[in-house]
Symmetry: D2
Subunit: 133 residues, 4 copies
């Protein structure tokens, strides 16, 4: 069981969203942040780095947005939909863009791994947006 | 002149948004991230910390979102409105909430300073959203 | 298998450190960053929040240092011991302090979970320091 | 006056280090984080991006370490030299490496600007290390 789930299960207050959906999203954004940090560095090591510039940029954006999203959704009380919803929407959008770009470079195994992390994160953020409705 | 502005003026590619508006927003989100980090720590040092819990949480969220926003809007090329717009909207929302909460604690000078940083950041993000239309 | 390990296994260049040790450290610092973000928020929800101030501060420091450490050790090439060694030492130190403080609050289950994450991260960073010798 | 200085001047507790030195360091690490984020993106836009890979990596490391350092030194109370000293040493080291690499690319104006930010940050972190003795 991930630390995110263990810590939701020990939370001192009640909260409104399903703990399983929330923990899955926290884990997915953290995994995606890590995958994108690594993929950006892998891209920088490829011989055709000039072809990878868009992928690097999207990976860097994706890491930054996933990291912020993971922190904000981990702070359960004082939940503010005016902030959390657009943040999750930004996370969905950057994961979609980054996953699509990694798919274009699917001849690189690191891009295939990163694409999986982005697709899973995109789905998890959509699921959380649905659960928060 | 801030580093943000100097670096925009030396950017190797052209970009579509006014450099002055963009640099002002970058500076405002970075300043706001710093003010909120400090204000959260100040709140933790107050004798009535239990009254400051909401303020601390909002300051932490505000720092995380401002930091991500500053990084993403600093990466000019490959601008993706599907990502940048909701991220700026999340930043506007959290700055509004955090500024309002700091205003409630205006008897603390650090909350007054942090409120100013949040209000300025909110305005700057709105201006950039308008400029990106 | 974690994304960190999968991405190390697909890295385009060779690198000098054992992939298993490095991947375990990346996973441990990311898990610890998440545990500390959640624990700080849990602390803020406890009725005796004034007693938890030191724990909150250490959790916030621990998250920030673990996040930076995870990113830096994920960028394998251009490894610079002058930077990586003191950064890992800072990570060891903050995990030790944060784990000790969480142990003091072991009547809170979230502090027990966070202590485990800190101890595991401290060990992993020490192992990586040894492996980098 | 920067927000960092204003917020130090309103801090509810006493602290042991000179407020001017501390505020100058907070401002320098935040400015350096921003300069390195921009410089990495500028590097990615240059026609000879393959020559800029080391510079990009060092800029990314420098941003991550400066951001963590700025947050940790902004949390004044519970100051823990076992953590803060090696973190500042890591910051000095990465600023030195990044500044040196940017100097090598001084034909690019963005690298000259970033080098200045790195040198200033390196000096500020050394000054704070001295002041904390």
């Amino acid at each position: 069981m991930s630390y995110a789930r263990q810590l939701l299960d020990t939370y001192p207050r009640s909260f409104d969203v399903d703990a399983g959906v929330l923990a899955a999203t926290i884990d997915a954004v953290n995994d995606c942040a890590q995958a994108c940090t690594s993929c950006a560095d892998d891209d920088l090591s490829e011989p055709d780095v000039a072809e990878m510039v868009k992928c690097i940029r999207l990976c860097l954006d994706c890491t930054d947005i996933c990291t912020a999203t993971g922190a904000v959704i981990s702070r359960l009380a004082e939940y503010d939909p005016g902030t959390t919803r657009p943040l999750l929407e930004a996370c969905v959008a950057v994961c979609k863009s980054c996953g699509d770009e990694c798919e274009r470079h699917g001849h690189y195994e690191h891009c295939r791994v990163c694409e999986q992390a982005c697709r899973r994160c995109e789905r998890a953020c959509r699921d959380l947006l649905d659960a928060l409705k």
